[in-house]
């Protein structure tokens, strides 16, 4: 039973991590790269219009960071609950 309760707690925290990270995933691609692209293109970084940069470069960097953040968070969580495999 105890195992059961902690499994549910673990799952809840996992779902919280997932929603936060997927929210960032959504904003960085569909938000900055598509919805707001015209507005962002009024700004430049170096020779890049900002929205264009997010669509062709920035979003991809953010995706990589997101996965490794998840790996870090989940490894920590596994340890906390003793669920390491």
């Amino acid at each position: 039973m105890n195992q059961n309760i902690s499994a549910q707690k673990y799952w809840k925290i996992n779902l919280k991590y997932l929603s936060i990270l997927l929210f960032i995933w959504f904003i960085s691609s569909f938000g900055l790269g598509v919805f707001f692209v015209d507005a962002l293109n009024n700004f430049n970084i170096g020779g890049f219009p900002l929205g264009f940069w997010f669509a062709q470069q920035g979003s991809i960097y953010i995706f990589v960071v997101l996965i490794f953040t998840y790996v870090f968070l989940m490894n920590r969580l596994d340890k906390r609950f003793g669920f390491e495999d």
Partner: protein, 566 residues
């Protein structure tokens, strides 16, 4: 030395390497054959996944498409990388914990039904076959252009190589050849990109060179110059889009979800030891993919500027050698409409005199930039590595679907381990032959359908897997009806708006919600979810032991390696 001699040398060395690895990593059991024994390290799996994933389309076509579409090409960049976030967060760890061999394995067990299993097999086969034919064709094109053999001979040589290591080594052979192929293809993609970046901007990092100032001391940014050149010739500004936003959103989403639903990508995560490793190797895979995917838009810009500057308004007689070489292949066409002896390359199709196939941009790029012969040969070898690694991964999915999901799980459950391994090898041979046949006689719709394979995966497998993990109450009735409705809807839309199988193809103005066939996978996916959830509400909950399976795959501990006798 000439390009051709260099190509023979470099392609010869890489092929010898792949065959050597195949002999070294021969599969001894079905577990070896399906999941490489289940003990692949996260880094090796990351590299293999990256090579598996990056096909001839990523290597050759993508930069070319972006080169001609500018901002609109971003859908491929975001779509084909963003899918890995979904894969790493929503699928890979749980499927690894589940610990079986194939995607239909998961669907069949989770939905306690052979009907679900068969529907999943059909979806997996449909997705994989549409995808693999394009790869064999890519192999043929490279052979014919760089080694000057007949396209068909090229396809057959490619078939023999893949046959050799896929049939002998199964997943184990494929995994380690894919590691080598990743190294070959990324090196081949980066070397010319770095050379050209230095040539044009003085910046050795292409990702930064793309946004840097030109090397000529004018202080003008490269993208600014390209926008100028584009508008001058009547094209859109390169950094501005021309597609409807709704379509951009739909295509990006369909590619992301489709990527996460592709059986040959998912199955790679069955090969690592632990749940932890599955997460990590998804991250590594995306990192390794991102190296190519962030360089491709830079290559696109360089190639576009170089092309315009080399050909626009220049005399036809003075065209460099590569121009004539590609003309011979028919992938580059010049027609002197106003008979002034010069090349007019403009947006208006009435006066435009030059047609460039987008697939040649990456292959011709080193020649356009006057790079040494060995770099051009390297690009050819890289392209072959990209095509062969993806083809091998797909063939394995096809053979496992037949030998494991159909023969072992449904038709002959009593088959011995040895018999199943033999069946797996034979179905791999059969799959290679079918793929080769389509490579030699491409049905007109193959090229169009490859992009749609993502829509099919998004519309069918992705929702069934996600619901299977995240919704305990999901039952077989819901999942099966969702998959069937999703894939049929997607097939119908493709047939009507892309393939013209139902009378004339209607114009874009008649697209539902303004969404193109490429993006329609998103809609079909949503429909799949709605149908699944609705049907599930009105039918019985899954049995207790299935609900326990779901609880079990949600926590990483106690992972069981795929057993032979399940």
């Amino acid at each position: 030395m000439s390009v051709q001699v260099w190509t023979y040398i470099i392609v010869g060395i890489t092929f010898a390497l792949y065959i050597g690895i195949a002999i070294w990593s021969k599969a001894g059991s079905t577990k070896d054959f399906y999941v490489a024994g289940g003990g692949v390290s996260p880094l090796a799996n990351g590299m293999a996944t990256a090579a598996d994933w990056m096909s001839a389309a990523s290597f050759i076509s993508m930069a070319g498409i972006i080169s001609f579409t500018g901002y609109d090409g971003s859908v491929y960049l975001m779509g084909w990388t963003g899918g890995y976030v979904l894969l790493a967060l929503l699928l890979a760890p749980y499927l690894r914990k589940f610990g079986k061999f194939t995607v239909p394995d998961f669907i069949g067990d989770r939905y306690y039904s052979d009907t679900a299993r068969i529907v999943a097999v059909v979806c997996a086969l449909l997705v994989s076959f549409t995808y693999v034919a394009g790869q064999m064709r890519g192999v043929g094109v490279v052979f014919s252009r760089f080694l000057e053999v007949d396209i068909n001979t090229g396809v057959i040589i490619g078939m023999i190589i893949v046959l050799f290591y896929a049939v002998l080594g199964g997943m184990k052979g494929i995994t380690y050849t894919q590691v080598a192929q990743y190294c070959v293809l990324i090196f081949a993609f980066m070397v010319p990109a770095i050379f050209i970046s230095i040539q044009m901007t003085g910046n050795p990092i292409p990702q930064l060179g793309m946004g840097d100032t030109l090397n000529d001391g004018s202080g003008v940014y490269l993208l600014e110059k390209l926008n100028g050149l584009s508008t001058e010739l009547g094209f859109n500004e390169y950094t501005e889009g021309s597609k409807d936003m709704i379509d951009i959103l739909a295509i990006t989403l369909a590619l992301m979800v489709g990527t996460a639903g592709l059986p040959h990508v998912i199955v790679r995560f069955f090969t690592v030891k632990k749940v932890k490793d599955a997460r990590k190797s998804a991250g590594l895979a995306l990192l390794l993919i991102a190296i190519l995917y962030t360089t491709a838009p830079a290559v696109a810009v360089f190639a576009r500027v170089n092309l315009i500057e080399t050909v626009s308004d220049k005399s036809y007689d003075g065209m460099p050698e590569w121009f004539k070489n590609w003309e011979k292949t028919g992938l580059l066409k010049f027609e002197d409409k106003n008979l002034d002896g010069k090349v007019q390359y403009v947006a208006d199709p009435k006066i435009n005199e030059l047609n460039v196939d987008r697939d040649i941009m990456v292959l011709a790029n080193p020649e356009i930039a006057n790079l040494p012969a060995w770099v051009i040969a390297l690009v050819a070898a890289g392209c072959l590595a990209a095509a062969l690694s993806t083809a091998a991964g797909l063939l394995l999915v096809i053979s496992a679907s037949v030998s494991h999901d159909l023969i072992k799980k449904i038709f002959v459950p009593t088959i011995s381990e040895k018999g199943e391994l033999l069946a797996a090898r034979l179905s791999a041979v059969l799959a290679v032959c079918v793929a080769g046949y389509f490579g030699i006689n491409p049905p007109g719709f193959v090229a169009a359908v490859v992009a749609l394979a993502f829509g099919l995966a998004a519309a069918s497998l992705f929702p069934a897997i996600i619901l299977g993990i995240f919704y305990k109450r999901m039952n077989k009735e819901g999942a099966v009806s969702g998959m069937v409705v999703g894939i049929l809807l997607m097939l119908f839309y493709m047939a009507k708006f892309k393939l013209g199988w139902l009378g004339d193809t209607p114009p874009a103005s008649e697209w539902w919600f303004g969404i193109s066939p490429e993006g329609f996978g998103s809609v079909a996916m949503v429909v799949n979810f709605i149908v699944s959830l609705t049907v599930c509400r009105f039918t019985a909950a899954p049995p207790q032991e299935v609900q326990e399976i779901v609880e079990n795959i949600r926590i990483p501990s106690g992972v069981n390696t795929p057993s032979v006798n399940h």
